[in-house]
Structure formats: C-alpha cells, structure tokens
Symmetry: C2
Subunit: 365 residues, 2 copies
C-alpha cells in the first residue's frame, strides 16, 4: 500500500467507522480498523460482528494494499497529526505514516484474521430519505430498554415497511414510541428489530442523502454517501404494540411544550427519595388548568399551566424522566396529551401531527 | 427575609460560592449555602471549614433575614427557573421562591449551626493585580501533588511576598514551577502554603479587579469585586526550592513551543506499557536538531525539530505528561530549555521571560 492523502481524509475514515470497533477483547483483530487501498480510494472497515461500518474516502492510491491497524492508536495519532499532506506506505505489516519530515509507524494485525463483511448487496431492498430516517430514529430511540437484563427485543428498534408506509417502534415496557411515514410504492416489505447501538450510529452518520436499505432474514445493510452500515437483526418476537395504543380517550389537552418541560424539570427536583433516579411528577388537570402541586422533605412546588382541555378532570403521576425525554423530541410549540384515565397509558404527540406518538404509563404512587 | 431579585442574581451568588460547599457529610449544615438579606444586598456564604467564599449581590431587600439552604437543590432549581423576576420570602425556616404565578419552597437548615467566618479584615495585608495573580496561579498550579498520600505541603502552593516581590512555587517532587513578579513597595511580608483547592477556585473567580490579601498565621483572605475568599493555610515546612533550581547549565536550546507540544503528544502515544498513565518521551539533542526516536510493541516514531542550541549534545527522557502540562502555560512562540545533563533537572521557560520556570526531573529509563 502506498497512498497520498490528508489528515482530514484519515480523520473522516477513522471517525466514521470507529464506533463499530469492538470494545471487548475476545478477538484482538476486532480492535482494529481494516484499511484497503485500491481503485482510487481508501476503504475503512470496522466491526464488532453485530455492527459493521465501511467508509470509502477517495485519495491518490499509488500501490494497492490491505492492513488492519489498532483502532485506538490510529485514531489518537490521526487527531494529533499536523494539518496537511500525509503519505501512507506499507512495509511488511507495518504502516509508515509520513508527515512533513517525520515518520510514525504502526504495527498491524494479521489482515487475514479480519472477518469478511460478506455480500453487501442483498436482493430485497427499499429506499428512504436520510433526514426523515434520522428524525424517525430521534423520535423513537430514547424509549428502548438500556439495562443489560432486558429481553433483547426491547433493546432494539422495530422497523416495519409495508403498504407504502414505514414504521418504527421502541418500548422498554414502561413507555412506547411509535412513528410512521408514507413511503410511496415500490421496494420490498420488511419487518425486523434493529439493535439499539446500530440505530444510534445510523442516526449519528445520516445526512440528507437518500439511504438504500437491503436485508435478508439475519442482517440489514444501510448504504448512503460514502458509507455502508451492516447490522445483525435481533431475533425474537416483538410485542403486539398496536394493542397497547389506547383506542379511547377520556381527556384531551393541548399544552405548551416548553412550559411543560420547564415545570417538569423543576418538579423532578422534589422526587420521593431526593435522588433523581426515579423522580416523579404529579399532574392535576381541572378545566383548562394543569396544576403541579407536590412536595417531599426538602420542599414543595406549586405551579399552574393554562391548557386547553376537553373531557374529564383527572390526576395522574409520571416518571419525570419519561416526560423530559418525550418533550425533547417534540418540536412543535404545543403538544397534545390524551389519556383514558389515571390508571391508563397517556399518549403525547406534536400538535397537528398524527404520525408520531409517545406513550407513557402512569406511576402508581 | 423578603427580597426582589432576578434569576441571574441568584445564579451569580450560588455559582460563585458553590465550590466551597462541603462534599462530605460530617456536618449537614455545611452542605448548605447561607443567604443573608440586608443592607440592599444578598450575602451568599459557603464553607467546608478549609475554604470559605462570600459573595454579595445587590438586590431589593424589603425585609432582613438569614437562612441556610441545601446547596444542591438551590443550585439545581436556580438553573431551571424561568428568566426574569424572582421574589424570595422567608416563612419560618422555609424559603418561598415566587416566579410568575408559581411558588417553589425549600426547607432550610438551622442557620445558627452555620459556622461564622470570623474576622475578615486581618491587619497584615497587601494588594495584587487580579490578572497577574490569575496568570501566576495558572503557571504554577499544575505542578502540585494531587494524590491523597502526598505530604500536605505538596498539595498546596507556596506564596511568598518580600522585598517588593511576590513569588509562587508548586512541586510534586518530580517537577517544580516557580514564578515571581515585582510588586512595588508597601504591604506586609508574607510566606504561607495555600491549599490547592483554594488556589484553583481563586483562579476561576479572579478578573481584572485588584485583589486585597490579608492574613494571619492560620488563614488568608482574598477580597475582590463582590467576593471574599477565606482559606486556611497548610501547616508545614515547604522544601527549600531555591536549592533545587540548577545554577549551572551545560546545554541551552531555543525550541518552537507548539512544534514541541505537537511532537510530544504523538510520541506519548508510544509509551512503554500502552497506557497513557506514564507515557515518556526521549529527547536526543545534537547540534541544532532535537530528535524524537522511540518505539514500543505498537509502533515507532521518528521526528526532528530544528532548534537553536548552545552547549553539549545530550539525550534525556521525560514524563510526557509533565512536558504537555508545561507547554500549555507557555504563551510565547519559543521556549528556552536549559539543562545540566541527562541526569539533572531541566528548566523550561518562555523565551524572553526571566520570571517563570518550569523545572522537570528526567526519567531514568
């Protein structure tokens, strides 16, 4: 391998793939980033066997070659290189990095041990808008389970494409997020559970380029711009989320989103045990007023928000964290809250949007 | 207490004193911030018995009063208040905070249990320029010992004022920083060891206002702007630092500061044990060239920097962390390195400045 590039080229490639580098030590070569020079580009690859990322960066390749380099050292060095031109030269299994008059050498892993990504052009596929997918992930991902003892399906995001529509769903069993978008005709139908880590990474990397999605039973590949992201799918039965979404509603309220966020943040300071681990907030809805009136041994809060309400007055309590996660992804000035009663799930959605809901179960205090 | 103020007034007072709030639980009232309303101002006070900070904020006081409020809750609430006017009202030992139509109440500690700061106008005193003191702290503080098992004197900063000059010294026994400035005549002479935590806090709070420093045997008080900072002094014998500073020099070099920082950062990636805990860098100085040429099992680095050198060629090794700390506080384009040989301490200072040195012992590899 001989290639002429810049610090920025290396930063781009290394930065895009590094979240797929394995943090565990089972197979040392997975702590590496594979770099293949050829066809006028450097191909960067990393995988932890569940998630794999490839990034192509066009550079001046003078001699082909393949190496696997320790990701941590390569990343740290790349950040510390002076700005400007860099010459990469492979001598046996060592990469010589020339910058100015200087030379930094990194010893490689055995490239043959690095797993093949396999077929990256699966037959079944469809296409998505990059920014729309990014927003769908943003609106759902926070509701996934992140504790280690969760059933695997709850740590992922359900994606479903059928009937000219794409849906995403997340739940940790205490709350559920659900979003759908029309997709037009064409493309294969799909239903699968994407690991949370993959979804977070896709959200980070997406921009306004269209995304080609291809898949088989076991894996899924997202292609956009200079990136290919391969992910295993989570095996398991996703719960019947549609049955969870309430069909009836006894109370509907229109609430200023930022006002609600602000008062919930303050009320959360007075949680039962003075730790923020399980802060709660108690809503009392009477007529067109939402009242927060709660206390603990440290103090108390009393606030009223003017709302527009239809239906029954009621009182109910929520985990404050769940409400704060929800208001962060609602970009409209007002949100709509609908509930079937103080023991039922409440549904929150942006005012004027019918394609997204954030469902939160009440707390029993 | 009844006072009219703004969110920003509270943020100012709470933010200035909060680093003096005790993190330990020995005396619960020390987890509080004392607020005294009177004389057209709120006086905020916090202390962990070693460091005490008072901050005065002018507000509209309608009724005097004194309270001690839990610092964590007060701080978190203050950050989350809506912008604008706030009314504080003490009812028994509870502070009622009114904002808009809302009311947040915080239960206070027993204010009588809060320790008195004592006499804050000690007889012996002198005056310093705020920005000069800030820079002196910046240039010395990083060399103090921060491990818990260090002798107490090494965790602090020695300050000495005598003969129309002020000096500050820090050492962890592996490196030493030393700075002095002319101070003009007037004021009392002083020699004492200021705790590291206090010094960091003073550095954070200082601006271009002049600082009045008063002191007795046991404590020291810094006054500037709306702040009084009281600190206990560390009892103990500071080592004779002047004997450590080399009097002779076999090699003197003038080195570009940023170039040196950059190459040391890269060389540090190749530390002996692949952990950054004790990264080293090896200098080879021959004629007007500084060469870095080192390797470990991960790779190697070879760089040359053009320097201006007088004296003997030599090789010596340093803890890379010590060099990186040092270059961060040298603001001149070039620095001067002087050394008595590869087993002796090296002295680094800004090119053209005689009033600051950073002394670093070599590593024996």
């Amino acid at each position: 391998m001989i290639a002429l590039c810049t610090k920025e080229d290396l930063l781009d490639g290394v930065g895009k793939v590094q979240k797929a580098v394995s943090a565990r030590n089972t197979l040392p070569v997975l702590q590496g980033i594979k770099i293949s020079a050829g066809g006028g580009e450097l191909l960067f690859e990393a995988t932890d066997l569940e998630l794999g990322i490839r990034c192509r960066v066009p550079v001046n390749v003078q001699e082909e070659g393949v190496m696997v380099l320790p990701a941590a050292l390569l990343t740290e060095l790349t950040r510390r290189l002076p700005e400007g031109a860099v010459r990469l030269e492979q001598i046996e299994n060592t990469l010589h990095i020339f910058y100015g008059e200087a030379n930094f050498q990194i010893n490689g892993f055995d490239a043959d041990e690095f797993p093949e990504f396999g077929n990256m052009d699966l037959e079944k596929n469809f296409t998505l808008d990059g920014l729309q997918l990014k927003q769908m992930i943003r609106q759902t991902i926070y509701a996934r389970a992140i504790t280690e003892d969760s059933r695997a399906v709850f740590s992922g995001v359900l994606m479903e494409k059928k009937g000219g529509e794409i849906r995403m769903v997340c739940t940790d069993t205490h709350r559920l997020t659900y979003v759908f978008l029309p997709l037009g005709e064409g493309g294969s139908d799909f239903r699968g559970i994407i690991p949370g880590k993959t979804t977070v990474e896709i959200q980070r990397l997406l921009d306004d380029d269209p995304v080609n999605v291809s898949f088989d039973q076991a894996k899924m590949i997202f292609k956009f711009k200079n990136l290919d992201i391969m992910t295993r799918l989570i095996v398991g039965q996703y719960p019947n989320y549609e049955s969870v979404i309430p069909k009836t509603c006894h109370m509907k309220a229109r609430i200023n989103t930022r006002q609600l966020a602000s008062v919930v943040e303050r009320a959360a300071l007075l949680s039962r045990d003075n730790s923020m681990k399980m802060a709660f907030v108690r809503f009392k809805i009477e007529g067109d007023v939402l009242t927060i009136d709660q206390n603990n041994e440290s103090g108390s809060i009393y606030e009223k928000i003017e709302i527009e309400q239809e239906g029954d007055d009621l009182q109910l309590s929520f985990n404050a964290r769940y409400l704060l996660d929800m208001v962060k992804v609602i970009d409209t000035e007002h949100l709509i809250m609908e509930t079937g009663g103080s023991a039922n799930a409440s549904v929150f959605r942006p005012d004027g949007a019918e394609n997204y809901i954030s469902l939160v179960l009440p707390m029993r205090l």
